[in-house]
C-alpha cells in the first residue's frame, strides 16, 4: 500500500505499531484487552499508519486515526458510531484551539503513546492516545503536501 506521509516525519527512535496489535482480537465477551506490546509502548514514541476520521464538526484539539476510513458526528448519530474499537485519538497540542484540516488518504504519523481512560473535551472517552510530534502538527496545520 502506498502511504502518504507528512514531510520530515521519520524519527529513527519510533517503534512501528499497527492497529491490530492494540487489543487481543477477536474482542472477548467483555471489554477490550490491551496486548503486551501496547502496554509496553505506553509513554514511548510510536509510528502508526491509518486514516483520519472525518468528523463533522471537527473536534478541537484532536483527530481520530483509524484502520478504516469512517466518518462520525452526524447529528442523528452522535456517540452511536461506526468506528472500530481500535482507534487512536491523536492530540495536536496543548494550546490547539483549531482543528487540523481533514486530510484524506493514509497517514503515517509519529508521537508519544499514552494509555488509559481519558475524557476528551467533547465528551468522548479515549483509551489510546498519541501526542503528535510538533513538526507534524505544524506540517499538517499548514496543509503541506506529501
Amino acid at each position: 500500500m502506498q502511504a502518504v506521509a507528512a514531510p520530515a516525519a521519520f524519527r529513527a527512535d519510533a517503534t512501528d505499531l499497527k492497529f491490530h496489535e492494540f487489543f487481543k482480537l477477536p474482542i472477548g465477551p467483555r471489554g477490550l484487552e490491551a496486548t503486551e506490546k501496547l502496554k509496553l509502548l505506553a509513554g514511548e514514541r510510536i509510528r502508526i499508519v491509518g486514516y483520519m476520521i472525518r468528523q463533522d464538526p471537527p473536534a478541537s484539539g484532536y483527530f481520530v486515526l483509524s484502520p478504516l476510513p469512517a466518518s462520525i458526528g452526524d447529528e442523528d448519530d452522535s456517540l452511536a458510531d461506526d468506528l472500530p474499537a481500535s482507534v487512536v485519538f491523536v492530540h495536536v497540542g496543548l494550546h490547539a484551539t483549531q482543528a487540523l484540516p481533514f486530510r484524506p488518504g493514509l497517514l503515517r504519523i509519529t508521537g508519544m503513546l499514552s494509555l488509559g481512560a481519558h475524557e476528551e473535551a467533547d465528551g468522548r472517552v479515549s483509551s489510546v492516545r498519541l501526542q503528535l510530534d510538533p513538526e507534524l502538527v505544524r506540517a499538517m496545520a499548514a496543509g503541506e503536501p506529501p
Partner: protein, 657 residues
Amino acid sequence: MNHCISTYPLRRVLLALTLSTLALASTAAPVISRLTPPSNPPSAEATALARFLPGQRFDLQATVSPDAGTSIVSFSFAVDGASLKPAPNNSAMLTTGLNSKLSDGSSTPANTAVVSLRAYANAIPGMHQLSVTALQSDGQKATRNGNFEVVGITRGGKVAKNIILLLGDGMGAAHRTAARIMVKGYAQGKAQGRLAMDTFPYTGMVMTASLNSIVTDSAPGMANYVNGNKANNNEEGVFPDDTVDAFDNPRIEYLAEYLHRLKGRTLGIVTTADVFDATPAANAVHTSNRGNGSGIVDQYLDDRTLTGLTVLMGGGRKWFLPNPSDKTSPQAINGSQRRAASDYVLPGDIVAGWGAAPGAKDPGRDLIADFTAAGYAYVSDKTGMDSAGTPDKLLGLFSYSNMNVAFDKINKRRGVSTVVDEFGFPDQPMLDEMADKALKILSKNSRNGFYLMIEGASIDKQAHLMDSDRWIEETIEFDRAVKVAQDFAAKHPDTLVIVTADHECAGAAIIGAAAAIMPPFPSATTVATYEAARFPKYTIAADGYPQTTDVPGRMLIGYGANADRYETWLSSDQPTQDSQQPFIAAPPLSNHPRSPTLRNAGAGFLITGQVPGSSAVHTATDVPLSAFGRGALLFTGTYDNTDVFFKIGQAALGGVR
C-alpha cells in the same frame, strides 16, 4: 373655549392616572412562561396537542418568574377547575439549576421557579382544562391555562396481546422499493416476488414532524409513536423544560411502561445500533439529551420494574464496561465510554411519583455484571446467542458501538471480506436471527403478552453516508426480520405487527439504471433513465442477499437531501470510502469483479450537495406504515405518528371486532 380647555385636560389626566395604575397592577404579578403539557393556542383548529390514553401517567410542570425582589411561595395545578392535591413527595419547586435563558430567549429572571407535579393521570375521556396558579411573596398571583385530551378506548373487541413494532430507521417509500427491485426483481412490469412488508394487508401514510420541526430526528421519531405526544428533536419520552439537568424533564409514560403497569406485559428491544441510541432508548428511557449514554443504559436495568424489560439486544458494549476514575492505577484500557457527566441522578419528586430508581453517578459500574446478577443471561456473539436456549431474560451486546451492516456481515460469512474482523467482532448475528431469539424468549416468559421493538438501524446510517448498496441490503435484512415477525403473528393470532419508519432519510430516489454494460462509467451521463433503465437484475445467493450489487444495468440511486459526495456507481469494499484509498485486492474477489484501474482513477465524480456538512440529512416526507394481524385494520389512512400510539392502545386494550 376656555371651559372646554379647562375640563378636557383634567379628564385626560384622570384617564392617564387610571391607565398607569392599571399598568402597575398588571406588571405586579408573576409571569408563567411555560405550562406543561404544552397546548395549542385556543384559536388553533388543530386537535389537542397533548393527548393521553386513560390512566397514562404524565408530569405537570410550569416555569414561573416572580417580580424583582420577590419569590414564589406556593403553586397549585388544577384540572377542570379542581385543585390537585399532590401525593407525598411527588411535587417540587426548583429554583436552582435552571437554564440561563427561558423558552422565549430572554434571560431567566432571578428567583424563577420550575414547579412540578409528577406522575399525574386522568382516566376520563375527553378534553380537560389544565391550569397552574402561582403565589408570589408579596401576595400577587398569576394563573396560566392550557388543555389536554384523554383519548378513550372502546372496549369489547378482540385484544392484541402481543405488539411487534418493526422500525426501519430512515426507511421511506424509495428504500422499500429499492429493496424489492434488488431482492425480488421485476419482469415485464411486475415484481417477481414481494417483500414480507409488501404482503401486509393494511397500509397508511405517517406524518413524522417533531414538536419543534417539520424535520425530525430519531429521538422524537420513535418517542412520538410510543407515548402519543410530540417531543423536541434530541429528546425522548419527555417534554422540554427550563432546567439544565437532562434527566429531570417532565415525563410521559411509554407504551411499554403503561402496558406493563396495567397488564403485566413485558418489553423487548432489538436493534442493530448501539443500544443507547435514540430509537431503542425512546421506548424505555426518559431524557432530553439522547447523547447521555451512561445514564440511558443504566436506566434500562434500574427501571426494569417499570418497563418489564426482558430482552435487550444490539451493539453498544462500550457503555456497559466499567470506567473507574483516574484514582485507579494502572488505568483501565477496556474501551469504556462511561462518564459521570452522561450518567443520571433523579430528583426526589420523580423517584416518589414514578417509582423510578434514584440513580448514581457511577462510571465505574460494571453494568454487565449487574445485568447478570439481576437474572439476565449475557451473550456477546451469535454463537453465544444460539447456544443460550430460551433463558428468562437476555442481554446481548454484539459490538463496541453500532453493529456492522448486513453488506459486511454477509461478505464476512461468505469469506470475501475482513471488514467485520477489523472491527474486532467477527461473529455478529443478523437482525432476523436476533428477532427470532427475542420472540422465543418473550413468548415463553410473557403469559400476559409483550411489546417488542425491532430496529433496522443502519438503513438510516448508510443513507446518511449515501452508500446505496449498504442501505439497500440493510432494508433486505430488515425485511427478513419482518418475515420472522409475520410468521410469529400467523401462529399467534392475538399479535399485531407494525412496520414503519421514524422519518425518511436522504431523499433517496431510484433514478434509473447504469447505461454501460460494466465499468468504467464515472459520470452522470451514464444514468439510463426512463425506458432505458429496464429491469435491473441481481442474482440472489442462498443466503438471501445479492451475489453482487455490481451487475450490468444496476439500479442507480440519487439523493434529494445530499451532501457533497464522489459517486462511482459501484459498491465499496469498506463502509466508508476514502477518496484516496488505494485499490485493495483481497482474493478471492469472484463476487466483486472490478477493474483495478477504476478505483485509482480518483473514486468517482463529484456530485455537489444541497446541504452543508458531509452527510445527507433527514427529510420531512411522509413514510409508509404497514400493519398485519390483530388490529391491523386500524392503520389505514394518513395520520400523525402520535395517532399510531392511540391505535396501538385501542388494539392492545379495547381490541377490534
